[in-house]
């Protein structure tokens, strides 16, 4: 019943961003801590930005809404079955434990693993930390070298930096201009003391899918454990830990319409991979991740995985059609639009575009009615162009012009059409303002000009 109400509310917001006034009132306690969202009859004002209604949401790589069916599964574990899953002495504990174990099986099924190989964590960042630092710390006597790529998520790169400070060797593998790993280069970098190869399955900024089966084969050949950050891949593309020869894999709940604050770590049992825990305590989750397992979140994560398994094909077809609609819509009206990253080996829910002669930040400023980002949410506050795009060898001026459109399960055709309309209008407006566009039209090569660098 509640989910029906909620899903209609969700749909309504998605389809008609202007009808947002029906949202439930925030509690006064919450309002005290959070900047109030002022909703006037003329629109919404927040952080000095005035918009006519809630923006349409195209930032699914940052996070996704919770599927109402997921919330349905979670609610009993907040309200009546609130036991600690580690309590052994009463029914509250037993039923929670059962719920956690069935969620573990749901997660495992989605990646063709055994439930015993799933560890619940707070999210992919924690899982990446455990994988990168935990493996090297455990095998530090024999293994001193890690291979990763230049386009990894910050949390993998930062974990590698941390290892470097401890004296480990890290190879940051460059990628090809389409964002994919060069397999021969990867092979040539492997050393006898290489303890881990970490390559993300689907890139968060540009959505390219790495050739995991081939990478897995190389890892098997050299007997090096393979870790992959699959936060953006889980539930969106088929994952088989055996076919891909994956030893460790990081998973996240909130990218697949599950709750925030829950994720998982797949750890292979045969051959067994071992890690040094980052968190010490009560020894939960086989001692890898101490701390009470949050039953409602785990149940939600499990439900989200089961839904993703059932609906992966349907979602993929829908999202693929929407991506085409978006790209064709924009390309039909604008020239100088470049897709960043491979167009073939790509998750269709991610469309990262560069608009020549238009600076990305000013474009985002004009697209306040569309919630998109210029790259990853983690780095969107900095003025630097994306390091992922730079790793692809994208010209620096083009790297300043990128926008990431994230399409998901609840995105509608109307939203895509509106996004096309607003993007085209804004890019045209900014090109009228752009001295670079003027030079381009006058036939002046921008690269021939001696620019004053500063």
């Amino acid at each position: 019943m509640f989910s029906k109400l909620l899903s209609t509310a969700v749909r309504r917001n998605l389809i008609q961003p202007t009808v947002a006034r029906g949202l439930p009132k925030t509690f006064s306690t919450a309002a005290a801590a959070v900047e109030p969202l002022v909703e006037e009859s003329s629109g919404i004002t927040m952080k000095g930005v005035k918009i006519s209604g809630r923006p349409l949401y195209l930032d699914m790589q940052a996070t996704s809404p919770v599927d109402p069916r997921v919330l349905d599964a979670m609610l009993p574990y907040y309200l009546s079955r609130y036991g600690n899953p580690h309590s052994r002495t009463h029914l509250y504990g037993w039923e929670s434990e059962q719920a956690v174990e069935s969620a573990r099986a749901q997660v495992a099924a989605l990646i063709n693993a055994s439930p015993k190989e799933i560890i619940f964590t707070s999210g992919a960042t924690e899982s990446n930390n455990i994988s990168v630092k935990g493996v090297l710390h455990f095998y530090k006597d024999k293994k001193r070298h890690v291979i990763t790529t230049q386009t990894e998520h910050k949390c993998v790169l930062d974990s590698c930096r941390h290892l470097q400070q401890e004296g480990f060797d890290i190879t940051y593998l460059p990628v090809k201009s389409d964002g994919l790993v060069d397999l021969e280069k990867l092979r040539s970098e492997i050393r006898p003391d290489t303890g881990l190869i970490s390559v993300m399955m689907v890139n968060n900024e540009i959505g390219v899918i790495q050739p995991m089966v081939e990478i897995g084969k190389i890892c098997k050949e050299f007997n090096v454990p393979l870790h992959t950050d699959a936060a953006q891949a889980l539930g969106k593309i088929p994952i088989d830990v055996d076919k891909m020869n994956i030893s460790l894999m990081s998973l996240s709940g909130h990218k697949i319409y599950g709750p925030k604050g829950i994720g998982g770590l797949y750890m292979r049992r045969r051959p067994r991979i071992r890690v040094e825990p980052q968190m010490n305590g009560g020894g939960q989750e086989r001692g890898i991740r101490s701390g009470t397992v949050p039953t409602p979140l785990v149940v939600g994560f499990g439900a989200a995985c089961e839904l993703a398994m059932k609906e992966m094909e349907y979602d993929d077809q829908r999202i693929r059609a929407l991506q085409e609609r978006l790209l064709n819509g924009i390309r039909g009206k604008l020239d100088g639009v470049v897709v960043n990253g491979s167009e073939e080996s790509r998750y269709p829910g991610n469309l990262n575009l560069s608009f020549a002669f238009v600076e990305g930040e000013s474009l985002l400023m004009g697209l306040k009615e569309v919630a998109v980002s210029s790259g990853s949410a983690c780095t969107s506050a900095s003025l630097e162009p994306s390091y992922v795009l730079r790793a692809l060898g994208v010209e620096e001026d083009m790297a300043h012009t990128s926008i990431r459109y994230g399409i998901g399960r609840f995105t509608t055709e109307e939203e895509i059409d509106r996004a096309v309309e607003l993007t085209v209008r804004q890019v045209e407006k900014l090109r009228e303002l752009s001295p670079l566009y003027e030079m381009y039209k006058d036939g002046i090569d921008i690269k021939s000009i001696q620019w004053s660098q500063h």
Binding site: K47, G48, V49, F357, V358, E359, E361, S362, M365, G366, L383, P385, E395, E396, D397, H400, E432, L433, S434, P435, L436, Y437, E438, I446, I449, W451, S452, Q453, H454
Partner: protein, 144 residues
Amino acid sequence: MYHERVLDHYNNPRNVGSFDKNDPNVGTGLVGAPACGDVMKLQIRVDDETGKIVDACFKTFGCGSAIASSSVATEWVKGKQMEEVVTIKNTEIAKHLSLPPVKLHCSMLAEDAIKAAVKDYEAKRSKSSGSQEATHLEEKAAGA
């Protein structure tokens, strides 16, 4: 996040456009670099009798603050003498738009663009006529 004046100039930029850069009465300043994410082109039209800037226009590739800074710059130079505009400081533009520290370079670029436009006009004048008045003005501009 943005001051309302920045939003105003971003949404309704003043004096967008281009003058013929070969016109002897036009000075063009092109500063910044695409790789840095900011390029400003600011142009002035000068009355060669009085040295007064009778019109100004701009085009900018850059963030909202860069667009607003150049839009403000064109407003401020219009109707003023050239000696006067070369004294416009980036800090005045930054203060007017309440730019945060990470955006101060936008206002510096606007100041540079004004100076570059004046310099370009002076260079054109001294080249065509070699008049003493122009050299005089140029010295002033360089000293500012």
